[in-house]
């Protein structure tokens, strides 16, 4: 079965290239090709994950027949099987949304699939330098995708993302360099042994940990290093915001967890107490600062972006606590956050497409105008706050439980505090949607330069893509203020909302599947 692992990376890359070549001549084929690729990728990911969880053994593949530790190794175990499936499934779901919402071009779908390839690569690799290369592939695709918005704002957001992201990846590379100088190897499993041999007291080893964690923290967007993230999310087209908010930081946070557990190991954390404190403090500050900044935002997409800063603080804190309950919570929250945040960005995009509302003040009485989307937005918001039985609650519960088990009371308090702040910034949206009546607004069209208008403008260029939907007039008229979201867009958002609720109870089934992997990773 392990022969399938390289296909997880190869399938999206091949799909991206075929899509680019074919789409150059027949632009309308780009979307179906991307869907076929993504379907194949999802099936593959699901099959690999099934094999891993059913077999209880990690799958491993030596690329090019060069045996590790000299060659590059691809590994899928219980920890990253979930991430692999998440990447494939979310990418497929957002494709359904992007069909109408755009951006509509063959180049967009190529970038999209390259991003998926990069993310899959980061998830499956067992080699540090390979992780760096996939980190940069992911980064390059993400910068290009953010810039697909048709205003100048997205280009500025993307450039800022590029400069900060590159520094982050470079610091990660310095960290790898230090570890390589200390041990002479790049394979993760081999590094774990040799780093222990060099000794955790060595300055070289400690410095490499600091650089690797800081580099990945930039990519995950933890608090003082998050500056690229709000503008990148807010300025990107809605489909792209959803994709990168759901996956890019998620996979970076996974990589951080993987590096902590598989390269430096829990032994390092317990013998170098300062390293654990460093990560915990970074995460704790991120949890609080992200929530506080989110409360202060008026633009909905920026608010969601700052909310991510806080939620990833939670995940990283879970990895640093490093006991069974906390790591289970971290993985659950990683997956749950991706579903919820992706769904939230899509819902906000669809609401903007229907009503033009992008700022908190414009959400008054929205439930009357867009009942279904408002219900989905409210469900996802409440799940994010952590109302049981939704997945947002389960993840936080396990992390808090882990913090208490390890006697890390400050972290438990921080989690509680951030939940209250999360309630504050999501509840004001829900309150406005359901309990206020819409104020008479003058010419909302002037405000919106977002997706609504963009979808209409682009839809006019290739209107043949609108064959099977109920309102064929959309995209033809030049003076339509706001299009309304297609059935596909609404369906994806509803699925995300349902998943956010349904995944919660399923965690008890998932937990025993994760257990053998955790035993292996967390053994003292």
């Amino acid at each position: 079965m392990s022969e399938l692992l390289p296909l997880l990376v190869a399938v999206p890359i091949v799909g991206a290239l075929v899509g680019l070549v074919v789409g150059y001549k027949f632009e309308r084929l780009a979307w179906p090709l991307a869907v076929v690729t993504s379907l194949a990728h999802t099936a593959l990911a699901a099959f690999v994950a099934f094999e891993v969880y059913a077999g209880g053994e990690p799958l491993s593949y030596a690329v090019g027949g060069f045996q590790p530790p000299f060659g590059i190794e691809l590994v899928v175990d219980g920890l990253n099987a979930a991430v692999v499936v998440l990447v494939a499934a979310v990418a497929l779901g957002i494709l359904a949304y992007a069909r109408r919402a755009g951006p509509h071009s063959a180049a967009f779908y190529t970038g999209y699939l390259l991003l998926v390839a990069g993310l899959s690569g980061m998830s499956v690799t067992g080699d540090m330098f390979n992780l760096y290369v996939f980190l940069e592939i992911t980064g390059l695709a993400a910068y290009a995708l953010v810039a697909t918005g048709d205003d100048g704002r997205s280009a500025v957001g993307a450039l800022k993302y590029l400069l900060v992201g590159t520094v982050g990846a470079s610091l990660f590379l310095v960290g790898i360099g230090y570890a390589f100088v200390a041990t002479g190897t790049l394979n993760m499993a081999d590094l774990a042994e040799k780093l222990a041999g060099v000794g955790y007291g060595s300055t070289l080893v400690r410095a490499s940990f600091a650089f690797v964690v800081t580099g990945l923290a930039v990519k995950t967007a933890l608090y003082p290093l998050h500056t690229w993230q709000p503008e990148a999310y807010a300025s990107a087209p809605d489909s792209v915001s959803a994709l990168i908010s759901a996956l890019v930081s998620t996979v970076s946070a996974y990589a951080l967890g993987r590096v902590i557990f598989s390269v430096y190991t829990v032994d390092f954390l317990s013998s170098v107490a300062f390293a654990r404190e460093f990560v915990l403090v970074l995460a704790g500050i991120s949890i609080i600062a992200g929530s506080v900044l989110a409360v202060m935002q008026t633009e909905l997409k920026r608010m969601l972006a700052y909310s991510s800063v806080s939620q990833f603080g939670l995940v990283v804190a879970a990895f640093a606590i490093a006991n069974d309950a906390a790591v289970t919570g971290g993985v659950v929250h990683l997956v749950g956050h991706a579903v919820m945040k992706g769904g939230l960005f899509l819902a906000v995009g669809a609401i903007a497409a229907r009503t033009g509302a992008r700022y908190v003040g414009e959400f008054d009485g929205l439930a009357a105008r867009a009942p279904l989307l408002s219900a989905a937005l409210a469900t996802l918001s409440l799940s994010m706050v952590g109302v049981p039985p939704a997945v947002g609650f389960v993840g936080k519960w396990y992390i808090a439980l882990g913090a208490i088990q390890s006697q890390l009371w400050p972290i438990a308090v921080v989690i509680l505090l951030s939940t209250l702040l999360t309630l504050a910034y999501f509840l004001r949206i829900v309150e406005r949607m359901y309990f206020r009546s819409a104020a008479p607004r003058e010419a909302p069209a002037e405000r919106s330069t977002g997706t609504g208008a963009a979808a209409v403008a682009d839809g006019g260029a290739n209107d043949d893509s609108d064959t099977d939907d109920e309102r064929p007039t959309l995209g033809r008229g030049s003076d339509v203020d706001f299009g309304s979201p297609s059935a596909g867009m609404v369906a994806v958002i509803l699925v995300a909302a349902l998943l956010a609720v349904a995944l919660g109870p399923l965690v008890s089934t998932f937990e025993p599947l994760l257990e053998p992997t955790l035993d292996l990773l967390l053994q003292p």
Binding site: L140, Y143, R153, A155, V156, L162, L163, T166, V167, L186
Partner: protein, 122 residues
């Protein structure tokens, strides 16, 4: 002591100079293109660090047969890694310059401060 460091470890001194110079340029320079140049300098510092780590005293090129069985060879692996990293760096520079071209067409300036002023009016 310092002389010895300068004479034998000068590569590391250059690395320690290149990294802050690049970082300072990215933060302090108002011109967007020069920020990208700063990014390149920063990366070059890292490349030099890797290449230096491959050096062995009296080592010959790592080609089988060039020095015989017992000879010391320099480590070929960092060279290969940095070849990859250079390709990544070139791609990053290309994407960054493409974005800068778009920003210039949109706002007519490459200056960070002017850009902020122009965008504040949006």
């Amino acid at each position: 002591m310092i002389w010895e460091l300068l004479l034998t470890r000068y590569n590391y001194i250059v690395v320690a100079l290149l990294l802050p110079i690049g970082a300072y340029m990215m933060i302090e320079n108002r011109n967007l293109v020069k920020k990208v140049i700063g990014m390149n300098i920063f990366q070059t510092g890292i490349f030099l660090f890797f290449i230096t780590s491959a050096y062995r005293e009296g080592g010959s090129p790592p080609i089988v047969g060039s020095g015989g069985e017992a000879a010391t060879y320099v480590s070929p692996l960092p060279h290969v890694l940095i070849l990859t990293a250079i390709v990544v760096g070139v791609s990053l520079t290309a994407v960054a310059l493409a974005l800068i071209v778009r920003i210039y067409t949109e706002y007519g300036t490459l200056d960070e401060v002017n850009l902020r002023e122009v965008r504040a009016d949006e």
